[in-house]
Symmetry: C2
Subunit: 397 residues, 2 copies
């Protein structure tokens, strides 16, 4: 029988996707330059030129049988070695090639990691607001989502609520820093508290609680303080990384899972990750892209564009009168909705050909997410529309 | 908690992988030219030159943002349109772009399709001998495998056993033609019978039974009769295709799922496939490879090498005295083991530095699988070793 749950999931476009498709219609009607689409978190800047050079060289000079062959299921050992060496130099974590499992991007890393550390009936803690797919991935494993708020304006965890939420069925907790949709970054202080609390709960319940750190935005940090690397704060941690944003390669589906060498059951955990990848049908991450990223450690797209956009939209909107926390990372601004009704705001915004995602979809009401991974000029053109929208909202109460 | 099942799955290398790794050790010890490794089904011929040309052109001339961007979750509509047009011309099936879901290869196509049409507790019918991952993929959905034999020497289904095996919990049946590990091809007559039987059982149990046709070897057919396309024989069919073998791109993970336009719940089935892909973390198939295969419909690696190998090994081994059915497709020979103990035969073969996979791993005793996707010269060098092995087996009884 066709799975009713999966059918619904396939039929129901996400609000984000709906807005994006609606935007296409608007563009056809009014011209692309008159539509201000802030709905999708799709990198707007090209990959570094070195990516194109490395790919070209691999394809034109490599032996095609070797190049396109299956790699081992965990990924090309030389590539994993190169990544481990880079991470060890940068973060001093003592990782080996066999702590790294090459994956088809962050989503695959998450579904594999969740499968590896949960059993049906377990609970997974997710901070709100959250990337909606976390719920989909968690429920696919037969586990239940337990939501805990991040507190505005800095969107750090509500530790009292977190302590309450962790129970004997808690097998994992997902964090995402820099954060979609708020642009916040988990501070070293928050990670310190989180580590202590999780250690305490592990001891209390006598079972491991895995911290799954989803890090596609790791390098998209516009502050003077680097994004804290999570391993020193808590041993039982799994990092899910993707090159989608750092190298602007979202469609290529390439990333990795990194097991903390300090985790208690390091080898067993890694084996379960391999088993989960195999079981879910991943075979290996795309071989050409594996070999490419192996040669591109530490390279980064020109994220100064995002930083410029960030300042422009934050300054522009707050000047109009909107409220928002200054986003520190990723490429999202989380705007407080005047009056508090995000769905109504997003609907009304369409009149001004402004496409913004209501935060209800992220499990927290009262905000809209503005993806500023767009052309800078579009932001300039959009600001008057945001102003007109603001006036209408205020005048109508 | 770490999943015990997935940990075991990750720890336990398949026999095939064990043999392959053992082969590497032997090669280091005796020299690569003195080891005869027939263990792995990894294409030994390069992709067609056009693949390299198309990839180079896409990378050097395409807009990198467009090229590496997320496609829609079902895949680039233009690519899906090109595939539908090709299939319609070749097989007259009336497929639309929206019957095709681009996937990360055949394994992903299978896990997605199985998730879409099963619920935990259902039964999936698998013909023996079978590709061992079918069991892994089926069990991941919470369904149970029910095995039905293919009958030697032609390895066509045992229809009496099949009729017995189908019950009220049967939601799917997997076929694979040309077949791993036997090299057999399901005849039009067998497909005719299969279609009738499944229609009868659907009516009897009042529920759909999906035929999942795993077709990575579709074009690797060395007979004068093309591999019959399964849609005309049975409406509720899902084709899982991969370019791994036809274009020698196994590591790149690119293929598609094709829903039969004649299936009863075509749109619901397609939606469930989309939902399953999303839920398992596939996001989209690798974008560069999607765009490449869209331009490469109908291209095929030079499979004459496999055909030459096939004749050489079949003739050589039968001349020695071994028994095997002439393989018609794929790149496997299924050799009957003198004396019948395949595990002992495979162990003994190692003495002659011959690596062959015992059929016990494929759920059927008494044979070994010989992958002839190897250098032709290796086959010539291996034949005396096969002869010595044959003599030893016969002399020891």
């Amino acid at each position: 029988m066709i799975s009713e749950r999966l059918k619904k999931l396939g039929e129901k476009r996400s609000t984000i996707r709906e807005l994006f498709e609606y935007g296409k219609l608007l563009k056809a009607q009014y011209g692309a330059e008159n539509v201000y689409d802030f709905s999708i978190g799709n990198p707007s800047i090209p990959c570094p030129e070195e990516v194109t050079e490395v790919l070209t060289k691999l394809i034109t000079e490599g032996d095609p049988v070797q190049l396109h062959s299956y790699t081992s299921s965990a990924g090309d050992p030389a590539v994993r070695g190169a990544i481990a060496a880079y991470l060890n130099e940068k973060y001093g974590i003592g990782a080996e090639a066999d702590d790294i499992y090459m994956s088809c991007g962050a989503a695959a890393s998450l579904t594999i990691s969740l499968a590896a550390v949960t059993s049906p009936g377990d609970e997974v803690i997710i901070f709100t607001p959250y990337f909606p797919e976390y719920k989909v991935f968690t429920e696919q494993t037969g586990s239940k989502c337990v939501f805990v708020p991040l507190l505005p304006p800095a969107f750090q965890p509500d530790f009292a609520a977190l302590s309450e939420a962790i129970g004997e069925k808690t097998s994992a907790l997902i964090i995402n820093s820099p954060h979609n949709p708020t642009g916040s970054i988990l501070s070293a202080e928050s990670l310190e508290k989180l580590g202590s609390l999780l250690r305490e709960k592990e001891a209390a319940y006598g079972r491991p609680i895995y911290l799954i750190s989803d890090e596609p935005y790791r390098e998209l940090n516009y502050t003077d303080t680097p994004t804290p690397f999570v391993f020193p704060y808590y041993a039982d941690t799994i990092v899910c990384y993707s090159y989608s944003k750092s190298l602007s390669l979202p469609g290529e589906r390439i990333g990795y899972i990194l097991v903390n060498p300090a985790s208690k059951d390091r080898k067993a955990l890694y084996a379960a990750i391999q088993g989960a990848g195999r079981s879910l049908g991943f075979v290996c991450a795309p071989s050409l892209l594996q070999k490419a990223v192996g040669q591109l450690q530490g390279r980064l797209s020109d994220i100064s564009v995002y930083d410029r956009n960030r300042k422009l939209i934050f300054d522009g909107l707050t000047k109009i009168g909107y409220e928002a926390a200054q986003p520190d990372g990723a490429f999202y601004l989380f705007l407080k909705v005047p009056g508090g009704d995000a769905i109504r705001f997003s609907e009304l915004a369409k009149k001004y050909r402004l496409l913004v995602v209501p935060s209800d979809d992220f499990g927290a009401p009262g905000y809209v997410r503005i993806s500023y991974c767009v052309e800078t000029e579009m932001i300039r053109r959009a600001l008057p529309a945001f102003e007109a929208l603001y006036r209408e909202i205020l005048s109508n109460g």
